[in-house]
Structure formats: C-alpha cells, structure tokens
C-alpha cells in the first residue's frame, strides 16, 4: 500500500494521545454511568456501596417494563417495514432511471437533514388531521408510522451504498444464464447486498429504540416508549434506577451492533 506509511516519533505520540483522549471523552461518561448503576444510594452522584437492587427494581417496575415492551414492539414493526420499503426505494434509485427520480432522491434525504422537532411538529399536525378525517387514534399506529417515516431514509442510504459498490455485471451474467429478473435479484443481488440490508435494519432499530422527540409528540393512549418515559422521570431527579435502565439500553444497543458485525462477517465468508 503505497500511500499509507507508519507515522513516526512525535507524530505517532501525538496521534496516539489524541486517540486516547477521544476514547476517554466517549467512554468515561459511560463508565461512570455503569459504575453508579450499582451504587446503594438514592443519590446518583454519591457512592453508597455495591448493590444490584436498582436492576431488580427495574425488572419489578411495571411502568418501566411496560414501556420497554412498547419500545421493542414498535422497534420490530418499524424495522421490518422500513427495511422492505427502504430496500425497494434504494433499488429503484440505483438500478433504474425514471422521470422525477432526482426529486424523489432529494425528498428521501429530507428526514435525515431536517431537525427532529420540525419532523415532530409536522407529524403531530398530520396525525391531528388524520384523526379528524379518518378517526385514526394516537398510539401504537402513530408511533410506528412516524418511526417508519424516518427509518426508511436511513435504510435506503445504507442499502444504496452497498448497491453502488456492487458490480452490476454479476446480475447481467445471471440473466445471460437465463435467470429471470426476480431470480437474479433473489439469488445474486440480494445475498450480496444482505450486509447492507442488515446494517440498515439494525440502524433503523437503534433509531427507533432511541427516539424521544418525535415519539413524545405522536404518542397517546398510554403508549409511552422507554426513552420517553425515562426522560419524564428525570424531571424528578436522577436516581441510579435511571442509570440501570440506561445500562440495559446501552448493552442492548451494543448487542445489536455486535450482531450486525457478526452477520456481515458470516456473509463475507460465504461470498469468498
């Protein structure tokens, strides 16, 4: 590799120091969060000896576990639907040329670039109208639709990146060998872009599980998600219970990421 050389001396030291500093900035707060989730004191900034009671309190708190199960159900629906729609739109944009494509392309990025609050207000007013016209109640449906709305863009971007890196000749070769368009997609393209789809899906699931601002505006009928409920609890002061909930969410997110890396590695072995 001609362009890349090993840095030396001072440069190397400075680079290493910067990296460690960045890691420190990233992980020191998380470490503090984890340590204090085991603190036997109601005060989140005072160490009161080791305990796991906050975790059992989380497990036995019906409101928190209810919010957690709401979050998971919404994330699963939002992920499945946005993966299908996002992949389809990525495919359409990457493989075909059609009238209005650039407009569609630009519009697809909108949820990624506009601020959360703007999207939240748009959806709030939209669902208020929907309730007037169709009697569509707020709750699971409105939260899931909102999450799907912003997840599609992210899935589509990730899948497109994978598609554009793929050699179209493989698909052409398959069709030369009498594969139908569907067979070529099913047996050649889909396996190749699978890591992109998985990555996009896991990204969508993470975004759905994490969202506060948009969910807060479109929720109703007792459908509080975990982050929204935790956010409203913080107003009454931070206890290590909040830390424990955060640690659980953190571990779940990291497990999802690890899972996606593993899936991509396996897929890579297959392809070789």
């Amino acid at each position: 590799m001609s362009g890349i050389t090993e840095p030396r001396g001072l440069t190397k030291g400075a680079l290493a120091a910067t990296s460690w500093l960045v890691y420190f900035f990233f992980y020191a707060p998380i470490l503090v969060l984890i340590i204090y989730s085991f603190s036997d004191s109601r005060n989140a900034s005072v160490w009161g000896g080791f305990t796991t009671s906050w975790y059992s309190e989380f497990a036995s708190d019906g409101e928190l576990t209810g919010a957690l199960s709401n979050s998971i159900r919404i994330a699963i629906v939002a992920t499945l639907v946005s993966v299908v729609l996002g992949t389809m739109s990525a495919f359409a944009l990457e493989r075909f040329r059609f009238r209005g494509q650039r407009v569609f392309d630009a519009l697809l990025y909108l949820p990624v670039i506009i601020p959360d609050v703007t999207m939240a207000v748009m959806l709030l007013l939209f669902f208020a109208q929907a309730a007037t016209w169709f009697g569509f109640p707020k709750g699971f449906g409105t939260i899931a639709l909102s999450h799907i709305a912003f997840c599609i863009s992210f899935v589509s971007i990730v899948v497109r990146a994978r598609l554009s890196g793929m050699d179209d000749k493989l698909e052409e070769a398959a069709m030369d060998l009498y594969a139908s368009r569907w067979q070529a997609f099913r047996h050649v393209t889909l396996p190749l872009i699978m890591p992109g789809i998985l990555g996009g899906g896991l990204l969508a699931m993470t975004l759905s599980l994490d969202d506060v601002v948009i969910t807060q505006f479109v929720t109703g009928g007792g459908w509080s998600t975990l982050p929204v409920y935790v956010f409203s609890l913080i107003r009454k002061g931070v206890t290590p219970l909040i830390n424990a909930v955060s640690v659980v969410m953190l571990v779940a997110s990291m497990a999802l990421v690890a899972l996606s890396l593993l899936a991509q590695r396996l897929r890579g072995d297959d392809a070789v």
């Binding site: 609050v117 207000v121 309730a131």
Partner: protein, 368 residues
C-alpha cells in the same frame, strides 16, 4: 410542578398553535352539558407527569366504572401544550401547572367544567378556591401543590437562623454555609426569590425591580455552590450543600428517606415565596367528556386525594383528605413554621407574556 422551561419547546408550541389555527371552535360551551353525574362515555385517557399517580389508583378508577384507564406521560408543561393545542390529542384529562392553565384558557385549549358533575369540588380548601390563573375555577380544579422555599441542614447551620431570604442573599449568610448554597437553575423561581427578598411581586413587569433582583443574585454568587434544579434535594442530604433553594415535595420526600429527617428544615422565607399548583383540566376536544368529569369528581373525593398524597408525598388541596394523610406528611403540611410569613406572602407564578424573555435575560446575566 414548575419544571425548567425550555425555550425551544415554547417556540414549537407557538408554532403548533399558529398552524393548528389556534385550537378549535369549541367556544365556551361545555361539551359535557349532556352528561349525568357518575356517567362514563368511554375509556379514560389521562395525560400526566410521570409518577404523578399510583398506577393502582388509576386501575381502581377503571375497575369501579368498568372502563379502561390509561396514562401517557409528559416531562414539561411546554412539551404537553403543543400536543393538546394541535387538537385531536385523544386525551380526556390533562394536569398542567398554574401558569400553563392561564395560557391554555387564553388559547381556548380547555373547556369549562360542568360543576353539576363534580359535587366533590366542595372538598377543595378555601385557599385554593380562587387562584390567579382561573379566579372562579371555571376551567380547572387543583390536583396537588407545593411551595418553593429554602431547606437547611441544621447540623451545619444550627437551629438559630433567620427564616428569611437573607440566609442566601444578604449579610446573614452563616459562615458555615458559605460556598454550600444552591439556588434553583430556573429564571422565574430564582428571580422570583430575589424579587420577594426585595419585597416585590415575583410576577413583576417592572424592569427596574428586575434589575435590582439581578444585582442581588449577582452579589450572592460568591456564597453559592451552584445553580441546580434537578438534584438540589440530593445535594443537601449528601452533605454537599447546607442551604438549598428547592421544591417542598422533593425536599420532604428526600428528608424522609434519611435516617434522621428532623435534621433538615424546610420553610418559605417570611418575605414570601412561590406556591405551585397543578390542576386537572379537560382539553377542548376531549373524546370522552363525561368520563373526564367523572374522573375529576372521583379524584376530588377525600379518600382518593389522601391515597394520592400518601403515595407521592405532594400536598393535597383537598380539605377532606387532610385527616386521612400519613402522620409525617400531615405534620409537615400543618407545621406553622413552614410558612412564617403566612399565606398572603406566597404567589403563584403567572405568565407575564412578552416579559418572560426579560426574566430569562436577567437570570442569564446574573449567572454571568
């Protein structure tokens, strides 16, 4: 509950109101004119602060009337307002704080209550019968309330101190407490405290008075640990602070978790302080106004009010609940030394409209 006000949510709220065409055209007619006492016309959807009612109490209401009762939580008045004002929120009962009730009445986002359906309103204590934001209780009834004042650690400061704002602002700051004082990180509360210390109204719209209050806070900064809202109670019991400006309910709950609650004292300084009141209101387009009225009436029952307060330890505005409260809560509520200046000295924070920004600016300048 006076929570910290996020300016951006206020902007969003205003935006939502404009887009929503300022609520509905419900006018001033109560939608519950047709309801009968104790009638329900569908499930109850309550929009409330987190942990502000025992889920079991909510279930008990549902069971008694054979309907579903669900609660959705919000974290600030400003987060609740845009959702309700946009219309079709789907909520039957909402629990806004005092100043927010005024804003919701002005915007016609709430409907007048039909008091024929709320006979238990007679349980409301006289001192809550005519709040500044809804003088005749036309649209709202009180839910729970509390004071903002000072909490003192007597192990550090002793018991011989003036029950006055001088304890944090003036020359009377005890030497032991220097550098161990926290003030709320909230423009209206902390500017309000300084205004009260100077003998002014905490809802003043006089820039001169506000400037004086700003100077007073600036001069007190040398003795401060910091400005803190979320953990003022915990800092005190952890020993990091010795005098804390904070909310009565939070302080009281925190004291009772300590081995020796009598070590701590909470009071509203004799010059006066803030009283916050959270209220039950019905949104202008509530889908089940009969159920909403039935729920409000049920909550104003003496026993239900006591159940509520004994669960979350905030004070009750319900005269019929007082005797049913836990002893330590009752002792706190009826202790005359909590309110040395008397009830005439406390005020609710009112919406000052365009002048709000002056409060924010003065507070930011004072903090430096």
């Amino acid at each position: 509950m006076t929570s910290s006000r996020f300016r951006w949510t206020a902007v969003i709220a205003a935006f939502a109101m404009i887009l929503a065409g300022c609520g509905g055209d419900s006018g001033t007619e109560s939608a519950a004119a047709e309801c009968e006492l104790g009638q329900t016309d569908g499930p109850l959807a309550l929009y409330n602060w987190a942990e502000y009612i025992d889920p079991e109490q909510l279930d008990a209401f549902g069971a008694e009337y054979g309907i579903d009762a669900t609660m959705t939580e919000y974290d600030s008045n400003e987060a609740m307002l845009p959702v309700v004002s946009a219309g079709n929120s789907g909520y039957d009962v909402v629990v806004p704080s005092d100043y927010m009730v005024g804003i919701m009445i002005d915007g016609e986002f709430v409907q007048p209550l039909n008091f024929d359906l709320i006979p238990n309103a007679s349980n409301i204590s006289d001192e809550f019968a005519s709040p500044s934001y809804d003088p005749d209780l036309t649209y709202s009834v009180p839910y729970q309330w509390g004071y903002t004042g000072l909490a003192v650690d007597t192990d550090v400061v002793g018991t011989d101190f003036p029950r006055s704002w001088d304890l944090v602002f003036g020359d009377a700051v005890p030497a032991e407490a220097a550098g161990k004082i926290t003030l709320l990180n909230d423009p209206r509360e902390t500017m309000g405290a300084a205004l009260k210390a100077l003998g002014y109204s905490l809802n003043t719209t006089d820039q001169g008075e506000l400037d004086e209050a700003q100077a007073l806070i600036e001069s007190a900064k040398g003795n401060l640990l910091r400005f803190d809202t979320d953990s003022s109670d915990e800092l005190l019991t952890a020993g990091e602070s010795a005098i804390a400006h904070g909310y009565s309910g939070d302080m009281f709950t925190q004291f009772l978790e300590m081995d020796d609650p009598s070590r701590y004292v909470f009071f509203v300084p004799e010059e006066g302080g803030t009283r916050w009141i959270d209220n039950m209101v019905i949104p202008f387009d509530a889908p089940h106004p009969c159920t909403a009225h039935t729920f409000i009436n049920w909550m104003l029952d003496g026993e239900q009010g006591a159940t509520l307060s004994n669960w979350n330890y905030y004070a009750t505005p319900n005269a019929a609940s007082i005797d049913l409260l836990d002893d330590d809560l009752n002792a706190f509520l009826t202790d005359p030394s909590v309110l040395p200046g008397g009830l005439d000295k406390v005020e609710e924070i009112a919406d000052t409209g365009d002048f709000e920004i002056n409060y924010s600016d003065a507070f930011e300048n004072a903090k430096g």
